[in-house]
């Protein structure tokens, strides 16, 4: 995974010449570059490392690059170039899919900045401090509902309770979406203005915290969903 100190050059395996990190073809021999030291998803797509991406621009870049190195166009090429086309296209598709989704985009940025979430499980382990109160209340409510159900209560008796218990969590999620949007805008203006490292770091830390909370909330809601459908 690229870090903030990622290299700025890649080397063409065919002619040995140097190429900029965001190039896809060797400037010297014009061959497709093998994957290995390519840029991160943003650089690969020729985009600044910002969180607000114009969807139309992303789509156009994706189509343009697909047209440059899709395996269809390397069918008759030597094996090394065919392989480069396959790998470069796979990477492009990953980059496109990741950056298309606003949340995946933030998670990727955190990764690229060396603040990645260690694993998807990380989100579900510890309760984020900001959510303690809601989670505590919800768990109590869930316990009571489970008892009610175990005692043979009809769905009409507990379902509305469960729905009510979900409401504050849903509200929290909406707040989070708004906070993420604000932080994303702040990050983008820092990138544009060339803001200080400490300022950037503060925004990234805040983003990371919100994302962890968000993932936790989603898991919680999924749990309730299962409970409702069980």
């Amino acid at each position: 995974m690229a870090s903030s100190t990622s290299p700025t050059l890649q080397v063409c395996r065919d002619c040995g010449g140097g190429a900029p990190i965001d190039a896809h073809f060797c400037p010297q021999c014009t061959k497709i570059l093998a994957l290995g030291r390519q840029g991160d998803y943003f650089a690969f797509l020729g985009l600044p490392r910002k969180l607000n991406i114009d969807p139309a621009t992303l789509e156009r870049r994706f189509r343009d690059l697909s047209r440059q190195f899709h395996p269809d166009y390397f069918y008759n090429a030597p094996p090394a170039e065919r392989r480069a086309s396959l790998e470069r296209s796979s990477y492009l598709n990953d980059a496109y899919r990741t950056l298309k989704n606003p949340v995946a985009r933030i998670e990727y940025l955190l990764d690229a900045e060396g603040l990645g979430l260690r694993s998807p499980q990380e989100a579900s382990k510890a309760v984020p401090p900001a959510l303690l109160e809601e989670v505590f209340a919800l768990n109590e409510e869930l316990d009571e509902i489970r008892e009610q159900r175990a005692a043979g209560a009809a769905a009409v008796a507990w379902q509305p309770r469960l729905e009510r218990a979900r409401a504050p969590i849903e509200a929290k999620r909406a707040t989070h979406e708004a906070q993420l949007r604000d932080l994303a805008a702040r990050w983008d203006s820092l990138v544009e203005a060339g803001g200080a490292a400490s300022e950037r770091r503060a925004v990234l830390d805040a983003l990371r915290e919100r994302i962890l909370e968000r993932n936790y909330i989603n898991n919680l809601l999924a749990g309730i969903e299962r409970e409702l459908n069980a």
């Binding site: 395996r13 789509e59 189509r63 697909s66 047209r67 899709h70 395996p71 269809d72 166009y73 069918y75 008759n76 030597p78 094996p79 090394a80 396959l86 790998e87 296209s89 796979s90 990477y91 598709n93 990953d94 496109y96 899919r97």
Partner: protein, 639 residues
């Protein structure tokens, strides 16, 4: 130049098409017929019959005749247990292994039977080209279509069938996407398209965005076990009394209470199935006669409001009541595909119908209702997929960049983790090619191998997903438990077919992977079938020799490149190589590359030998250095 074609290998019928002067054309026989029934029959003397001839034998020798084989592709014996009873042929196979189809005294795998159909299409195309005075009428390369919802095993089985038939399979593409290519040809579409493809045995729905000639699939869904065949089975059950269909109830009550029905039973002979067939055991041929009668009735009801089946009136209304649940089953996947693409039905600009079963008026009505617009059906729904396959073949061969197909993988790919849970690595609807990787480590000290189970599907538990393969990663260097870091890389190529590589990161050692496909053939088996099936032994032998020559050339090129890339190469060149030696190697390698993709085996071999000779001295030098380095205990660079 030999010819490339596009092939629609269907459950019921197959077709072949090619591109002539930029326009895709379906290849027809002398009678103007494009459809080759996907039926294979083994004659008494062991002769293989394909198509209409084989289809006729369903009425005289059903047990030696195979149809709807596409339903068995990439399947295990257990998968088809329930459906096998509907077929006249023997279905067997080892537990956990590939299905075998018994015809006469021989057994065949589904790819072998499909290969007979493919070879027939190949011959049909070759005869057509010969007749049209083409210089080289050899057909040796093809794009073959599969349902979009086919899994890895089914795709691989299809590719194997192509190889067994002596075809180089340029690409496996999805049927709905192929259809969209054919539709996109004459009109420069921009917008969102839904392709609804209900064929003989499979159902697909694909949602595409088309812009600047790029056909990008946003989502796909389907059911590889839903199609016209299921309608036929319903009708057969109704006729044979196996199911309490509305018609049968109706008939029974009338026979019991109203003597006038006797008159209704006297009917034109062509679709009459004897009344005595309703009770007691039937011969396989009788059952096939019933099958053909119900198919005829089904066809009739696409154009008319009523027909005659089993000696009585059968109305479209009755038919629609009977098949409504089947049509309903297609709508779930449609809604899921729309949801996955993040779209409402009303946002779809155009709806395209593909597959013979979309001729059924109820299907058209339901699709129109769901999307709120009249679907397209200008192109023949039986032919449009083959046309698209021909277009894709042309793109691959000519490098024509006007159009580009970007398809997705229909099912998520994952591996088994602790507790029988699947951990997903590549999500469904990811644009292909796609890759993903996962890190593994060892559980006990000095463990040198790790077992990996690869699955496809959307469910959480291993048992609910499709097992694709089991791998054993071997050759992990001995070290304490948990220290090894084995990165396994999963690559889905543009065919939607998976390959796996692995590397231990601490030592950078590439791991050996033994692939045991869960429901597929090994390369050796395919190779053997290829040899078994050689009809024109010599022509096929030549093709295989050519492939081998190319492989040899490839490996010499790769070895040479590796040497030239060695970090010490500059030093080696200065100290040990003659002046101009490197330039010579490079120019010979460039020469070999030029001829590599030609069909001239001798020239390829000549250049391969030349490169071997040119690099011999370099290879010796490198070898000596490695030995010296090893003896002095130094680390050897990238051996």
């Amino acid at each position: 130049m030999s010819k490339v074609v596009g092939i629609d290998l269907g459950t019921t019928n197959s077709l072949v098409a090619y591109v002539k002067d930029g326009v895709p054309v379906v290849i027809r026989d002398a009678g103007g017929d494009a459809l080759v029934p996907s039926v294979v029959s083994v004659g008494d003397e062991g002769a293989i019959l394909v198509g209409r001839e084989a289809q006729r034998r369903l009425l005289t020798d059903a047990q030696r005749t195979a149809y709807s084989i596409k339903r068995f592709m990439g399947k295990g014996r257990e998968d088809v247990r329930h459906e096998a009873e509907h077929f006249p042929f023997r279905v067997s196979g080892e537990a956990g292994g590939v299905v075998r189809i018994g015809l006469g005294d021989k057994e065949y795998t589904p790819p072998e039977i499909s290969a007979f159909v493919l070879r027939d299409l190949k011959h049909r195309a070759e005869a057509f080209f010969a007749e049209h005075g083409e210089v080289d009428n050899d057909v040796d390369r093809a794009v073959i279509t599969v349902p979009a919802y086919f899994n890895d095993a089914q795709r691989t089985a299809t590719r194997d069938a192509g190889r067994i038939a002596g075809l180089e399979v340029l690409r496996i593409i999805n049927e709905p996407t192929a259809a969209s290519l054919a539709y996109g040809l004459d009109k420069r579409h921009t917008g969102l398209i839904a392709v609804y493809d209900l064929g003989g045995g499979t159902f697909d729905i694909s949602i595409l965005r088309v812009e600047d000639g790029v056909f990008q699939v946003l989502s796909t869904n389907g059911d590889t076990h839903l199609g016209g065949d299921d309608i036929d089975v319903l009708l057969m059950d109704m006729v044979m009394g196996g199911r309490e269909g509305p018609t049968r109830n109706d008939a029974r009550s009338r026979t019991a209470h109203d003597p006038s029905t006797a008159a209704v039973r006297v009917d034109p002979p062509e679709t009459v199935v004897g009344a005595d067939l309703q009770v007691g055991p039937q011969s396989p041929e009788d059952i096939q006669a019933i099958r053909q009668a119900v198919i005829q009735a089904k066809w009739d009801l696409s154009d008319r409001d009523e027909t005659t089946l089993n000696g009585r009136r059968f109305t479209r209304a009755e038919f629609e009541t009977l098949i409504a649940p089947i049509v309903e089953r297609t709508l779930g996947p449609v809604r899921q595909a729309l949801a996955d693409a993040g779209l409402e039905p009303s946002q779809i600009d155009e709806v395209v119908l593909v597959g013979g079963s979309t001729r059924i008026p109820l299907v058209r009505r339901k699709v129109a209702e769901l999307f709120g617009k009249t679907p397209h059906s200008e192109l023949n729904p039986d032919e449009v997929v083959a046309l698209g396959a021909a277009v894709q073949a042309d793109i691959l061969i000519t490098g024509n960049r006007e159009m580009l197909l970007l398809d997705v993988t229909p099912l998520s790919l994952g591996i088994e983790t602790m507790g029988g849970v699947v951990s997903k690595i590549i999500m469904r609807n990811s644009t292909i090619p796609a890759s993903g990787s996962e890190m593994f480590t060892t559980a006990v000290d000095n463990q040198t191998a790790v077992d990996i189970h690869v699955l496809q599907g959307e469910r959480e538990l291993v048992a609910d997903n499709r097992s694709l393969a089991r791998f054993k990663l071997r050759g992990i260097p001995t070290m304490p438990a948990g220290l090894a870091r084995v990165q396994v890389q999963f690559q889905i190529d543009a065919n939607g077919i998976l390959s796996v590589t692995a590397r231990e990161l601490r030592t950078d050692v590439e791991q050996t992977i033994e692939v045991k496909p869960s429901y597929g053939l090994t390369d050796d088996e395919v190779e053997r079938m290829l040899l078994d099936s050689f009809e024109h032994a010599e022509a096929d032998f030549v093709a295989r020799m050519l492939i081998e020559a190319r492989n040899d050339a490839d490996s010499v090129i790769q070895a040479t490149e590796k040497s030239l890339r060695n970090p010490d190469f500059a030093e080696i060149e200065k100290e040990e190589l003659a002046a101009g030696e490197r330039q010579k190697i490079e120019s010979v390698m460039a020469g070999l590359r030029m001829v590599l993709n030609s069909r001239d085996r001798e020239t390829i071999q000549k250049w391969t030998h030349a490169l071997n000779d040119a690099t011999q001295h370099l290879a010796e030098v490198m070898m000596n250095r490695s030995i010296k380095a090893a003896l002095s205990g130094k680390n050897v660079n990238s051996i």
